[in-house]
Symmetry: C2
Subunit: 418 residues, 2 copies
Amino acid sequence: MREKVWKWMELNREEAISFLQKLVQEGSVQGQEEGVQKLVRDRLIEMGLEVDYWVPDDEEFLNHPYFCATRKDFSKSPNVVGKWEGTGGGKSLVLNGHIDVVPSGDLNQWEQDPYSGHIKDGKMYGRGVTDMKGGNLSLLLALQCLKDLGVSLKGDVLFHSVIEEESGGAGTLAAILRGHTADAALIPEPTNMKIFPSQQGSMWFRVNVVGRAAHGGTRYEGVSSIEKVMLVVKKIQQLEHVRNSRVTSPLYKNTPIPLPINIGTINGGSWPSSVPDEVTIEGRIGVGPEESLEEVKVEFERVLAEIDDEWLNDHPLKIEWFGAQWLPGAIDVEHELMGILQNRFKEVTRKEPVIEASPWGTDGGLLTQVGNTPSIVIGPGVTSVAHYPNEYIEIDKIFEAAQIFTLVIYDWCGGDNL
Amino acid sequence: MREKVWKWMELNREEAISFLQKLVQEGSVQGQEEGVQKLVRDRLIEMGLEVDYWVPDDEEFLNHPYFCATRKDFSKSPNVVGKWEGTGGGKSLVLNGHIDVVPSGDLNQWEQDPYSGHIKDGKMYGRGVTDMKGGNLSLLLALQCLKDLGVSLKGDVLFHSVIEEESGGAGTLAAILRGHTADAALIPEPTNMKIFPSQQGSMWFRVNVVGRAAHGGTRYEGVSSIEKVMLVVKKIQQLEHVRNSRVTSPLYKNTPIPLPINIGTINGGSWPSSVPDEVTIEGRIGVGPEESLEEVKVEFERVLAEIDDEWLNDHPLKIEWFGAQWLPGAIDVEHELMGILQNRFKEVTRKEPVIEASPWGTDGGLLTQVGNTPSIVIGPGVTSVAHYPNEYIEIDKIFEAAQIFTLVIYDWCGGDNL
């Protein structure tokens, strides 16, 4: 069977590369996903899938507690789901990939146009090619291969081409609320083919510390918010230590700080010779696979309230949770899909898979926690080039991933006729 | 004699108040001092003083090591010095007052126009009325009173109406370089009639700390500049402690921190979920009356270089001295002018004078260190309303100060015919 799949990949290689170029060339930063989604929709229709193509705008979606986006109007940003209905009695699978890409950034740092999709030394270059249009292509190839080889599946396969992953996951949330869930999910985010059965969630916090202004020459008449924020930074460091001392999962054995708390910005004071009466810090707290966002918020706020300082007792910190959030996600490492994936990985690559926890969130958190669809993240792109100028993907890796995915879908969904 | 002076003040009160209103109404923020300086010039000419009215622009001035200004063009900002030449054989005196005012700030916080000069309950309101046009008026009244009473003086009196005190003292520097110095000086900055024989100098510093950026989810791959700046803040706190433990002058006995180091601003990082690769702090360091700016800079830089941290050893702090600076100034508390001033103060006010060190710099630092003219700061305004909305001065205090100054000039410069 592996050989049939491999042969199919070889035969369809040129066309597939050309299709990926088209996906990259379309671009799809936030608000401009329509063109590329039409390409995907048409591809799914050609394959014979039942296609749901819609602009998310219903009230349940917009008012959902995990709705997290910088906008409420998605009229130029349709979601696409293609469904391959199984013959019945099998396990269903979501194949989830986001179609939105982050902005290209400083053009001077790109050697060629960010949307060129040009190929050099076996690599295709372009914004979004690794994060994660290359991964999406490997899913599409797997489906097409199974179709072309005349395979029938017992379980349903749902291919998600979703918007908004880069800004909070509203596209996957919309797909879940529309019922496009399954028994498990595969998400080919760029992991360099590492297997991530659990993904760290995260939230952003903002802590505002007030002091009392005074002239710098009589600074003892004021209260320095910079001195006070140092207490906050120290307390956050202690909290990070405590939180990580509770992490025992072997998935984190190579990770120095499994659940980091990053203080990313600090800004305060307005004049060198005035006592600063306000400082604000902003940061990101990692949320463990077994944790809820809510309990992490409560712990953070409780610990910061414990700072032993008279001034802060009378002038409590203002804590906000703002901006993006990603739910953590996890699948049991003993889950059947984990076993199938590892076996097929070894068969195709002839290597032992690396199994770790991801240090960042994916739409797998929403699929797991809201969609009741435990998710595994594994994909052919490379994290280190995602979001950077000259983003690229090794083309061979896409086909390697596509082969693995073909065989995994076959096994999990109960394939036949091969 | 006191009675003659007092009677003169009563007689000339209304006209004097009206003149102060004109000084306030003219305004004189940086770059707009010409109108008010013409008023002062004409007043000095009327009194019969020899007037030097000039725009500072010579090379010696512009290139002087203590030239500190945000501009080099003073064409709309003349300096004025009026000289009352003595009959000879007496000690000379500089009467120094700056004519520039700080901007009015948020107009909504002013109950009336900042340049109204309106009077209510014995107080005149307006930007600059306490800092320090009211003080300047008391000097002018003292001179006019002595003239009107037919006094002759042995020593010269030089009245300075200078620009740029609020931004580094370039006006007084120009007057000094033009030779307008004397055996001692009086500066009626707003001290609420406290006597400040020494004034704290100050400088502004900027310290830049670099880290290494990384994603917040893998923050251990980066180096947080916020963590590193905490070491710097702590070291600066230690330095402040060491510096103040050396201060023994009784003038500071009521001052919790004689020479404060104020960290006024902190800014760094650009994204909540990125490790911050740069943080900058800015602050003000107080310079003791006996210290030079240079030795304080050297100590600050030396101590910060001692921070024991491997990363900072490899990535040294960038330290800049920027913006404004004020030289410290001091006169011996046993100086003859101190004795005269205290006696006349007691005589006029029937109170014991309060003698302290000022927590901020004045042009007295330049007069002392560059002009070899030891200076005493005492004036009728109130520090707490300087630079604030609804700045005011108690009008009676101006005349009380004018009386004291009249008698002090008479004593110091060797008055006769009264």
